[in-house]
């Protein structure tokens, strides 16, 4: 291991960011660039009777207006279902749906002219929420379904014809009915989870430049390959002619995963044949995507000893007006509701339904927070019903390392009991202020790490500097610095000698995307393999050039250690090629066939989290204050401690948002608080000083040095941990998030 001085070890992106030099999509100015402003539907569900853009087109500074009719021939796009037009044509399905783009010399001119667009709507019956979506005779948000298979994820959506259900997942193990009949206790609960906004500080922004010889898009996208694939199909362009460039991204959390505004921006540029930029406001982004809300019925059967015999869950997810990746959210919710427990009989059903609201999307641990909210509150309810403590009930049912929680999922690669012990230990004795019972625990095991296809190139230069090309997006999590570190360690070169190229599909080999806690493992392993390949080539070249035994050589900073002493890379290249020039190019790739197929089974690794909360409640107002919190995760190996802890803490605090504050509200389909003025997220004041982050390292993951993925686990347990503390100390159970003071006050009042 090499020692670095602290400055050269700092994340290069952090220096750009604190000095204000970091470039985001919104900072770019492409020569000849125009500005687009999106005209959005104000109707919940309606036919468009007429669209008049004449006045807008004639307004000062306006170059053109893109309408649904312009792009109708391009057809629909989607990731799991082809359900989405570039612009609404005959009908609108939610308030906020794009119906036109005014393209002008300046953003001001475009926005001013956008007000002149006139739309005549004929209202249709609304589907405001998931209950309405499933009601008999419900209006249909989409009249028919066109599912895609293996297009973005493995598998596809399983819609039900003639209904609003765009995906149904069912997993049955054993015989739940028989187990329930034989059980000592059967307990059922109902929970709900609100739609919430990602609240990345950078709203969706993209620039597209459509030319004769191809299309370039600059976008803060998490899945450049997904964007590339979708626009290449829409516009009939070869993949090699579509270049996606991703500058720094101001947060994504899944809200910039798959494909968002890029087809629209590309279509605008396609129409005017000039670069077009669309920079959304935060309010626009709140009308672009959000987490799927959920209604969950969960039932557990236990025997006399408190062993779980069966669990069943019926999960209904509100997918909004377009599917995006909502089918995967539903399937994952069903997987993630199992928990780290041994349960012989399971019946897990999840349905994702269309509603006339903002489209659902991936969000940090898709389906996880919804599922774990229900599962872990329910665990405490069952424990209370049978007279066991929450800890004892969990201990009796925990699955051990190596056990499978469902036959089709990889055996657990961690010890949940260890994590549970660590959070309890970190919290120590309860503080006198809150009393002994004001604590709640929650555990989670989730299945990330999808699509094990990754690629990387590592180029070692004659002067020992290194270039890494790969497609993981630097979204604030520090992935570029992580890749640099992996390359530096593998090549035994200083961290500061490695440069990671900005994300650009024109230079980076294919990667599926930045999400699902997969980058460090899948792309990291590809970088490691590429660096090893470069090292091998370099050592082979040196052995030949220096006429040395290959096994006597080793890479050292700037060159090669030989039995005769240090030889610089310069010297080796000079000797080998007769000139002081050249480089070696290492290639690394990972796919489901790698490592003898060992990566094929899902999940690639388990993402784990244990959380323990201590709260106090102002009983007069109902306000909950989180006093102390501990979070533990088994991450295999920590590569960058500051970033890793930041990911875990950030996930917890983001989860504190949906626990206490957040819900994107709709009233009969109308957004109520889709603006940063009315939508509240936690601030530093809400985070307790006493906050423990425990990262367990057993070096047993599939990533470099035994790393597992992380960053999505800690968002899972915080809501149920806080609700369980409320239940334990105050005897009230609030079943729907967020736990606002008013709800808690009403629950406390109903109790007395």
């Amino acid at each position: 291991m090499i020692r670095f001085d602290s400055l050269s070890e700092a994340r290069p992106d952090s220096i750009d960011k604190v000095t204000g030099r970091a470039v985001y999509a919104t900072d770019l100015d492409i020569p000849g660039m125009l500005h687009g402003h999106v005209v959005r539907s104000t109707a919940v569900h309606a036919r468009i009777r007429a669209l008049d853009v004449g006045a807008a087109r004639a307004a000062p500074g306006v170059v053109d207006v893109l309408c649904g009719a312009d792009v109708a021939s391009l057809g629909c796009w989607g990731l799991v279902l082809k359900d989405r037009p570039i612009l609404a044509l005959d009908k609108v399905r939610y308030v906020g749906e794009p119906i036109a783009v005014v393209i002008a010399d300046s953003a001001e001119a475009a926005e001013n002219a956008a007000e002149l667009v006139e739309v005549d709507y004929a209202a249709l019956p609304r589907v405001p929420d998931s209950k309405a979506a499933l009601a008999p005779g419900a209006a249909l948000v989409h009249e028919s379904h066109s599912p895609l298979e293996d297009f973005y994820f493995r598998g596809g959506a399983r819609p039900i014809d003639g209904t609003n259900v765009f995906h149904r997942f069912l997993s049955e193990v054993g015989d739940v009915a028989a187990a329930e009949a034989a059980a000592a206790h059967v307990h059922e609960d109902h929970f709900s989870f609100p739609p919430v906004f990602h609240y990345a500080l950078e709203p969706h922004t993209a620039i597209a430049d459509f030319r004769e010889d191809g299309l370039t898009i600059w976008s803060g996208a998490q899945s450049p390959a997904g964007v590339q694939k979708v626009v290449s199909r829409l516009f009939g362009l070869p993949l090699a002619k579509v270049r996606i460039v991703v500058p720094y991204v101001g947060g994504g959390f899944g809200g910039k995963a798959s494909v968002k505004i890029e087809p629209l921006v590309a279509a605008a540029s396609w129409k005017v044949r000039r670069p077009v930029r669309i920079a959304q406001s935060l309010s626009d982004s709140m009308l672009t995507c959000r987490r799927l809300g959920a209604r969950i019925t969960i039932r557990t059967a236990v025997d006399r000893e408190g062993l779980i015999l069966a669990k069943s869950a019926d999960i209904v997810l509100d997918g909004g007006a377009y599917a995006d990746t909502g089918s995967a959210v539903a399937t994952k919710a069903a997987n993630r509701i199992i928990g780290p427990y041994v349960i012989p009989n399971l019946r897990l059903e999840a349905r994702a339904v269309y509603t006339n609201t903002v489209p659902g999307a991936a969000f940090r641990s898709i389906g996880g927070p919804q599922a774990v909210w229900a599962a872990e509150c329910h665990m405490d309810n069952v424990a209370a019903a049978i007279g066991l403590s929450p800890v004892e009930f969990r201990l009796r049912n925990l699955a051990a390392r190596g056990q499978r929680i469902r036959p089709d999922l990889r055996p657990l690669d961690m010890d949940m009991g260890e994590l549970m012990g660590l959070v309890r230990q970190a919290m120590g004795a309860a503080s006198a202020a809150t009393g002994p019972d004001a604590r709640g625990l929650a555990l989670a095991a989730s299945d990330p790490g999808i699509v094990a296809i990754g690629n990387a190139l590592v180029r070692l230069k004659i002067d020992g500097s290194v270039l890494v090309a790969m497609a993981s997006v630097e979204i604030g999590q520090g992935v570029h610095a992580t890749m640099a570190r992996i390359a530096a360690e593998t090549l035994n070169q200083p961290f500061g000698s490695v440069t990671v190229l900005p994300t650009d599909t024109g230079t980076a080999p294919f990667d599926w995307g930045t999400g699902a806690s997969r980058s460090t493992v899948i792309v990291g392993a590809s970088v490691e393999a590429a660096a090893l390949d470069a090292a091998t080539q370099m050592l082979d070249l040196a052995a030949e050039a220096l006429a040395q035994d290959r096994t006597a050589l080793a890479l050292v900073p700037g060159g090669i250690a030989t039995p005769q002493g240090f030889r610089s890379f310069h010297e080796v290249f000079h000797l080998a090629y007769g000139v002081d020039s050249g480089e070696v190019i290492g290639r690394g790739a990972l796919n489901p066939r790698s490592r003898g197929g060992a990566l094929r089974e899902a999940p690639l690794f388990w993402e784990t989290a244990a959380g323990m909360a201590e709260i106090d409640v102002d009983e007069d107002t109902g306000a909950i204050r989180l006093r102390r919190y501990a979070s533990a995760a088994d991450v295999g190996r920590v590569i960058n401690r500051v970033s890793a802890e930041g990911q875990d803490e950030g996930a917890s605090v983001q989860g504190l948002g949906h626990t206490l504050f957040e819900a994107l509200e709709f009233e009969d389909g109308q957004p109520v608080n889709a603006s940063p003025v009315d939508y509240n997220i936690p601030t530093l004041d809400d985070v307790p000083d006493d906050f423990h982050t425990i990262l367990v390292e057993h070096h047993d993951g599939p990533g470099p040095g035994g790393a597992k993925g992380m960053g999505e686990g800690a968002i899972l347990p915080i809501a149920p941990a806080i609700a369980n503390a409320l239940f334990a100390r105050y005897g009230v159970r609030v079943n729907d998030l967020p736990l606002t003071p008013e709800k808690v006050w009403r629950a406390l009042r109903a109790r007395s």
Binding site: E108, S281, S283, T621, E665, S675, N680
Partner: protein
Amino acid sequence: MLPAPFQLARPTELAEAIRLAAATEDSHFHAGGTELLMAMKLRLLRPELLVDLKRIAGLDRIAWAEDASVVIGALATHRQVEQDVIVRRHLPALAALCANVANVRVRSAGTLGGNLCFAEPHADPPTLLAALGARLRLVGPDGEREVAADAFILGEFETAREPAEIMTHITVPVPRGPVAYRRFRHGERPAVNAAVAWTMAADGVTIERARIVVGALGSRPQDVGLLERLLAGRRAGEAAEAVAQGLTDAVGEIEAMDDRHGGADYKRHLAGVLITRNIAEAAAQINGATP
């Protein structure tokens, strides 16, 4: 999220600002812009002309006046009020209030006058200023006048100010007794707030006059007259008990809106909680002061 086109005037004289505003049908004064620009960006407001008041000298001055009052320029920002030595010394409750309004960016730009003139119901200063008996100075085309703080806000986004009148300063008499202010919020703005100010008799323990004002929960700050009457002439030590007896009836009379900040019954209950806590704090101030 850009405002519709508008004209901007930046006069340096008060009279000029008034003249400009009076001459244009749809004009607005601009102070910190924290409310105004947001409403303009959302295109809820489309003024033809903005008259910026920040270049008029002296409008943000904070000074001590001979009649034992503090005169706060309407253009003083929350942050100036929070950090001003005179305010801290004589009106600590107001300094503390301003220190907790919004976030540091809004506090650094937003002004006390702008807060009052905008009359967004979920606001803090109007409640406390009403309880303190503050007077607001307005200067317009027809001359100057003074309006009591508790008569200024008429309803949601509605005040006694005429369109071309400028609020120049806020005069706050230094209280002759304990003052307590509390608010409850879940999110950025207060859902309910309450202020208590007692004027003590010469003996130092008898409440000569009590002001109890609640705000944010209705369309404008409201006196809780029933409790004010109950407290007048009572000893500070008996205040808590007296208020406890009248509280249910008193909060029942409060006008409260059902909105995103909570149901009306919840907000009335919260008003009672805040009043009770304020009374305890006020009484403690007296106890602390008397040997």
